[in-house]
Symmetry: C2
Subunit: 351 residues, 2 copies
């Protein structure tokens, strides 16, 4: 059993670290809340795990602690948010709030974000409109390119994620998917655990042969879901989240793992659709529940011990981690203790 | 070399057949235009190939020749179109026109369609806003269920397609993808040609084993792209295109290949995003061109003779078919000749 940290302590620790770094207290608290939400919903590579990296890039001058985030409403149902190179969590929170507010009047709203940064997971933002009886759509340009166009080997595409959040009587259904078969974080996890990867995740960029040794991932590239379809979807999400907003895509993407000093000009979009403009919210939820029950009651394919529907693991996992804490592997705990010392804040174990 | 039919003749033939069936002349012409557009853009299973099937279902009472299509604008940027069980092509044309018109004022618009029918391909509708300097998003509930929830075997999900259309300096980029690895039409094509399917397209629903004999496709189910991701995307598209609009999804879907008499209550959505509310259209197109050029110039993966980008085959194929005609296999030509006799219109060869 790895050690765990309570969500409330994770939130406070992250907030203290950002406040110590010079972020306004309210912003630091909001970042702590959203990063911890990534951990609670099972996105282990997008929560507290990112904290040392975020702080390292901030200290190297790549991120603005006191951004002047500007919301420019450009039409009754559209806005463009200039994040002024602030943390993506803050920029995307504002973008999502704006989308929800505009959609209340217009029925739908689409808000783009530019000059932003990494913002944790797609699911967090896709879920925000759901809390207001709306459907949420989220897309982003990933902060590193580990994929090529279909048939190519130049790493010009990211895992560009798509998030879709829909309300149901049982709680939010959230689809949060990369356009690659697996994320690069999963590859890194396999490398740490010394496990071979199955064929179909990566290929060697020179030979095209399956690459199964995760320690040699730098020689390969991630494969898209569905071949040309996933690569095409990654391109389209990149145009919608990046190019449409004047944000980075393709060759202009900064690899935020390798480069600590350059602003990433990350782009995202969030769309909120007000359900009641189409069907009463209660009727919608009841229908979603009926269909999910049908899907659940399906006969099982041999070799499967469960039917997997969007958002279920996320909901169950969130409840379990709220109760039992968020797993904190020893190596991560050591990194966070070191960070705490550097920043002059209390370590997690002292809270 | 199979025989071909000129696009203008295909359009006129289809229009004559629908007019002879009792459809208003303008509607018949519009259906002919859109079905032929499917053929021109390479969707062989969604164009003139469907004509005998469409007419068979119409004659059996499943489709309304003289629908009262109602556009109900429900907010500044949303509308719900009730197709009154008309042909999907007519319903979706109205829906797309409505979305474009509303998006001009609101910056974006989302239009749902209900009580509709099969409407050819996703790409046709996703491309319509592109002609107006907008981005188009289209989704639909497919008219047959050939997929299960991830881990299940009950056929409750369709190939629910997604279309995304984006302008560029070179013409529209259009992504038109099923959420399954292949469409059921491709399986039927392999059966006709007596070819074995590769593993990964279908599995046997009882054993879970790969199903490679397309003649035994009724014993199996299509696999989603990216495993649980594609299945999740099919569910989400189904909720957005079906449930949100009060249209069929899951158990309620009518298999329009097997059932000639029941209205399908097909649901779709179309979203139009006005680019100039985010970035000047010329600047957007120039940036898209720059990125597409980068992707094109990519080094080639061994075994690939081209880089495949969304919309390129479609554009090249459309130009070629406009010039050389649409392929018309003998078996299809015979069906169309028979239909011409039944409907009392001139055969394709007599035009």
């Amino acid at each position: 059993m790895p050690a765990t940290v309570a969500a409330s302590i994770a939130r406070a620790f992250i907030a203290d670290v950002f406040a110590a770094a010079g972020f306004p207290a309210a912003d630091a608290a909001r970042i702590g809340e959203l990063m911890t939400e990534a951990d609670l919903t099972g996105a282990d590579a997008h929560g507290i795990f990112r904290l040392p990296h975020y702080i390292r890039r901030f200290k190297a001058g790549a991120v603005n602690a006191r951004p002047n985030i500007k919301v420019n409403q450009t039409a009754p149902a559209t806005a463009l948010v200039d994040g002024d190179n602030g943390m993506g969590h803050l920029v995307m929170s504002r973008a999502a709030e704006t989308a929800i507010s505009l959609a209340r009047e217009a029925g739908i709203a689409w808000v783009g974000a530019t000059h932003s940064n990494h913002a944790s997971t797609a699911g967090i933002y896709a879920e925000m409109p759901v809390q207001h009886g709306m459907i949420g759509l989220y897309g982003a340009v990933a902060n590193a390119n580990h994929m090529a166009a279909w048939g190519g080997t130049d790493l010009l595409l990211g895992t560009n994620p798509l998030g879709i959040g829909v309300p149901s009587g049982e709680g939010p259904l959230v689809l949060d998917m990369a356009t690659t078969v697996v994320s690069y974080g999963t590859v890194k996890k396999y490398a740490l655990e010394g496990r071979a990867m199955p064929e179909g995740w990566m290929v060697n960029t020179t030979t095209g042969a399956p690459l199964t040794d995760p320690k040699r991932s730098s020689e390969g590239m991630l494969l898209p879901i569905g071949g040309y379809k996933g690569a095409g979807l990654a391109i389209m999400l990149g145009l919608l989240a990046g190019v449409l907003n004047g944000a980075a895509f393709g060759k202009d993407v900064i690899d935020f793992n390798a480069d600590d000093t350059s602003p990433t000009n990350t782009g995202h979009f969030i769309c909120a659709i007000d359900i009641k403009r189409f069907i009463p919210l209660d009727a919608f939820k009841a229908e979603v529940d009926r269909h999910m029950n049908d899907l659940h009651a399906s006969h099982r394919l041999p070799g499967f011990d469960a039917i997997r529907l969007p958002g279920e693991r996320r909901r169950a996992g969130r409840a379990q981690r709220l109760r039992d804490g968020i797993p904190l592997p020893d190596a991560l705990k050591a990194q966070l203790d070191k960070l705490a010392s550097e920043m002059g804040v209390r370590k997690i174990g002292e809270r």
